[in-house]
């Protein structure tokens, strides 16, 4: 078997497991909206997007379910996705000189803007992982709240504080949501894509 074929097979197996995990969650939480986010890299790490309402319950389920036992939240981080304009080709039917013809038109589509928190989960008990779960805010402006998963995994405590500090996501239910790396009266969120540093390097206090 060539290495690419092996990688392909591995992807399929992993995708299947993620589907299985999704089904397992759906069986326990029929109302939860789950979505598998594909990953274009050869790393075979697709992720599972959770909804806000069920996120903490699902996280507890992932941690405690005897077949899954994702007892270890390893890497917790944020990603900023500002609005982006994507050019898309769409086919339209037009009547030209009385004949209907199919034409291609290029249109601009705006992607939705949001902040994301990403959790890489492993199981120390069963030795498997990573399971990548994601949570997305409604937008990047006035509604940047997400449920905190610190009550489920203590390892999220400092990492969610860091996301709050550098990306500005408000984690609801976090026991101690303060800035961690920047100083307390700093006003902006430096990891956002549109962050502009001030000339002096200091922000007016």
């Amino acid at each position: 078997m060539t290495s690419s074929a092996r990688a392909c097979l591995k992807t399929r197996l992993l995708m299947q497991t993620l589907e299985q995990i999704k089904d397992r969650i759906t069986a326990s939480f029929p109302d939860a909206r789950l979505e598998i986010i594909a990953n274009g890299s050869p790393a075979n790490q697709p992720s599972l997007l959770l909804d806000h309402a069920h996120a903490r319950q699902i996280a507890r389920f992932l941690r405690d379910d005897p077949a899954l036992r994702f007892d270890y939240a390893s890497n917790v981080t944020g990603v900023d996705w500002p609005e982006k304009i994507v050019k898309e080709k769409i086919k339209v039917k037009k009547i030209i000189d009385g004949v209907e013809k199919e034409m291609e038109e290029v249109s601009d589509r705006k992607t939705s803007a949001f902040l994301e928190s990403v959790y890489h989960l492993y199981s120390m008990t069963l030795g498997h992982g990573p399971l990548v779960i994601r949570l997305r805010t409604v937008n990047r402006g006035d509604d940047v709240a997400l449920p905190s998963l610190t009550p489920v995994w203590r390892s999220c405590e400092f990492q969610e504080r860091e996301i709050f500090d550098l990306f500005g996501i408000q984690f609801q239910g976090h026991p101690d949501l303060r800035r961690i790396l920047m100083w307390d009266n700093f006003v902006d969120h430096p990891m956002r894509k549109d962050y502009v540093p001030t000339d002096s390097g200091e922000v007016a206090l």
Binding site: S3, S41, A43, N75, T77, R154, S155, M191
Partner: protein
């Protein structure tokens, strides 16, 4: 040692009444191993509250990396945990290899294991030295460890041109091949390291003062360690068998026969002892790797170092660094710079439980509990 609840009752019943004292320890305090600060609330000498303060060394490495090419970030990773630049390089290039699907030639894999395990050796030896320094054994144990570290740094210098900021690994392999005679020199260093360890242990392990200071101090229960994401020797000292070299078998670690030392009680002494035993296992790995290393290429000919543009996607790669799980999470949007570059710093996350380990102990114990966690502020603050 009084439990915290006992303390509170004794305070309530104290008719003379005494106030708690809040002390700011650090950022410039020799025992904090860099610019780390703790706000400690003390009842007499006993800790009742502790909150760490971070950020004194923060330069937002992750943002800098978003503006740099993939290649240009390698020297920045040297400066994370500046004791262990080789393993930092390794974790980063491993993640880029996952993101791009690059293969690594055999010889390069062996070289990575050799320099990685050498790094683990001197990291653990220095940690033991610093820990003893924190206990009051000024100078001697640390200088013994530093003497051995010098020999390994000499090897790194002849290999990479730099003693500490090695900038040695590349995606798909390593930057340059081993110089002539390097392996022989390394074999000598490794052979001598075993007798150094015997000497070091004869001096320290059974020492009554060390036992009195470290037994039962800063106990970390296994369940809490797992939930708080503690990794590395600190986790294994609490009895959890989790070593990423065994779990992920990244690189060629499946070929080596080594054991994972575990502690029983999770106290400061166990954390010290686990590191000593890990060094013995590293020596076994090193001997095997230096015996079996094949000739051949040291970098994948397909590896494109400059102007690397991985396909849009993401990857998380991790290694068992000397301090714990060191991971890099990369998102590519298809351009020549990473869209997101995230470091999972073991030093920061291992500090999550610092307060839990210190409550009820004296301020002098805080110093050695922190010393036994093993942090480097370049990695904590990034």
């Amino acid at each position: 040692m009084m439990a915290v609840s006992d303390l509170q009752t004794s305070r309530a019943g104290d008719s003379a009444g005494h106030d708690l004292l809040e002390v700011s320890m650090g950022p410039h305090h020799p025992s904090t191993h860099g610019v780390f600060r703790m706000n400690v609330v003390l009842d007499g000498e006993t800790v009742v509250k502790l909150s760490p303060v971070f950020g004194y060394l923060h330069r937002n490495h992750e943002k800098i990396a978003e503006k740099n090419s993939y290649l240009a970030s390698i020297p920045y990773t040297d400066r994370l945990d500046y004791i262990c630049s080789m393993t930092n390089n390794w974790a980063y290039v491993l993640s880029v290899e996952k993101l791009t699907g690059l293969a690594v030639p055999e010889r390069a894999e062996y070289i990575r294991v050799i320099v990685g395990e050498l790094t683990r050796l001197f990291n653990h030896a220095c940690l033991a030295g610093f820990l003893l320094q924190d206990m009051g054994a000024l100078g001697t144990p640390l200088m013994y460890a530093f003497r051995e570290r010098e020999k390994i740094l000499d090897l790194f210098e002849s290999l990479s041109g730099a003693r500490m900021m090695c900038n040695y690994m590349r995606f798909g392999g390593c930057r340059c091949d081993l110089p002539d005679g390097w392996l022989e020199q390394a074999a000598k260093t490794v052979a001598n390291f075993d007798s150094f360890l015997d000497h070091f242990e004869a001096l320290l392990t059974g020492n009554e003062i060390i036992r009195a200071r470290s037994d039962g101090v800063g106990v970390l229960p296994a369940a809490l360690a797992i939930n708080a994401g503690v990794t590395g020797p600190g986790l294994r000292a609490s009895g959890v068998n989790y070593d990423i070299r065994k779990v992920d078998k990244y690189g060629i670690y499946s070929r080596f026969d080594f054991r994972v030392p575990l502690g029983e009680r999770g106290d400061v002494f166990d954390r010290y002892m686990v590191r000593i035993l890990e060094m013995r296992q590293s020596l076994k790995i090193l001997e095997a790797a230096m015996r079996d290393i094949p000739a051949g290429a040291i970098i994948d000919p397909k590896a494109k170092l400059r102007n690397l543009r991985p396909k849009a996607g993401e990857a998380y790669g991790r290694i068992e660094g000397p301090k714990g799980e060191l991971g890099f999470y990369l998102i590519s949007d298809g351009s020549a710079t990473p869209y997101r570059f995230r470091i999972r710093p073991p030093s920061l996350i291992n500090l999550t439980v610092l307060e839990d380990m210190c409550l009820g102990h004296t301020i002098a114990d805080v110093v050695i509990i922190l010393g036994s966690i093993d942090i480097v502020l370049g990695e904590v603050d990034r």
